[in-house]
């Protein structure tokens, strides 16, 4: 008998603080598996965001920084430029990356910083209690849009992957989802490709992972996965928007 599935080595053996059914845990595991498979555990540095995943450095057994809200790409830029041999990645939510940190992420991508960004998009501000985020879908009910998000009042949700993929500096941009086992396999592949892009020095890489927030969406974990599949994927199409071969 051999273990075919166990905790990745680069994850600490401790219980996670996330709500039941929150897909942060799955995404953490995929990152840790990618780090293990690429054998870069000793060189990896994570930059933690502000949001539910603010304590993600408690779970990744690698060196870590905590950045101010939205500033993880700026901190990662500094780390990577000072320590170019290290593998630097940020782990950010949509409130962190697409709202307060829009400037940082856009310019980090435009500069072609050789960092990897894992962008967890659950279409809501989760840690603060479920307010509308820039990625909240039209019609989606949150605590600050009790009648649903309106286009006339709030504008349309921002598609970060499409937006960043048109910048020359970005090398690998993909959007994946973790709503079912097949999606998880594809997410793992995309995350690994993003790290490989950084290791080979091709430029900025980002993987947007569509994620659930059962607590703030007010759904059971299973219903949340179904809601993601039926509502988020049609608006946020999955796929690779830019691959390193397209870099001029």
């Amino acid at each position: 008998m051999r273990k075919v599935f166990a905790r990745p080595k680069s994850m600490k053996d401790m219980p996670m603080h996330y709500c039941p059914g929150c897909t942060h845990g799955i995404i953490h595991r995929l990152i840790a598996e990618a780090i293990d498979e690429l054998n870069v555990f000793e060189q990896t540095i994570v930059v933690a965001p502000v949001g539910c995943s603010v304590f993600c450095c408690d779970y990744f057994d690698c060196d870590a920084y905590g950045a101010s809200h939205g500033r993880a790409p700026a901190v990662a830029t500094g780390v990577k430029r000072v320590l170019p041999d290290k593998i630097v990645f940020t782990y950010q939510g949509d409130g962190d990356l697409a709202a307060i940190g829009t400037s940082e992420i856009v310019h980090a991508a435009a500069r072609g910083e050789k960092i990897t960004v894992i962008f967890v998009n659950n279409a809501i501000y989760a840690m603060t209690g479920g307010q509308m985020a820039p990625t909240t879908l039209l019609g989606q009910v949150t605590t600050t849009t009790p009648k649903g998000r309106e286009k006339e009042l709030n504008g349309s949700p921002i598609k970060m992957s499409e937006m960043l993929s048109v910048l020359d500096g970005s090398a690998y941009i993909a959007r994946v989802s973790v709503h079912n086992p097949a999606g998880i396999f594809k997410a793992k592949k995309a995350i690994k490709t993003a790290f490989e892009t950084q290791i080979s020095g091709k430029g900025f890489s980002m993987v947007e992972v569509l994620s659930t927030c059962p607590t703030n969406w007010g759904m059971t974990p299973l219903k949340a996965l179904k809601w993601l599949e039926e509502n988020m994927i049609p608006y946020y199409p999955l796929g690779e928007f830019k691959t390193p071969t397209e870099v001029v």
């Binding site: 008998m1 075919v4 996670m16 996330y18 059914g21 998880i184 793992k188 299973l222």
Partner: protein
């Protein structure tokens, strides 16, 4: 024979493993764990194929899978 091991004290009872198990052999236990949730448990271990889909869906790394053939994925 494949074997799955659930660390029941870590389970938050989200039921994702139960939903995605192709054999439908995972159920929520009647007991309440230290965190106050009904943990998932395998009711018919002899039917388990060791596909590890439950473990891949689990957000809390509760599940370990052992099998005799080589590793997948």
């Amino acid at each position: 024979m494949p074997r799955v091991v659930f660390r029941e004290e870590r389970c938050k009872g989200c039921e994702l493993c139960k939903e995605f198990c192709p054999k439908g052999i995972i159920e929520m236990s009647g007991i309440i764990n230290i965190m106050g949730f009904h943990p998932a448990t395998v009711i018919r271990m002899e039917e388990c194929t060791g596909c590890a889909i439950c473990a891949r869906m689990c957000p809390d790394l509760v599940i370990e899978v052992e099998r005799e053939d080589k590793a997948i994925g």
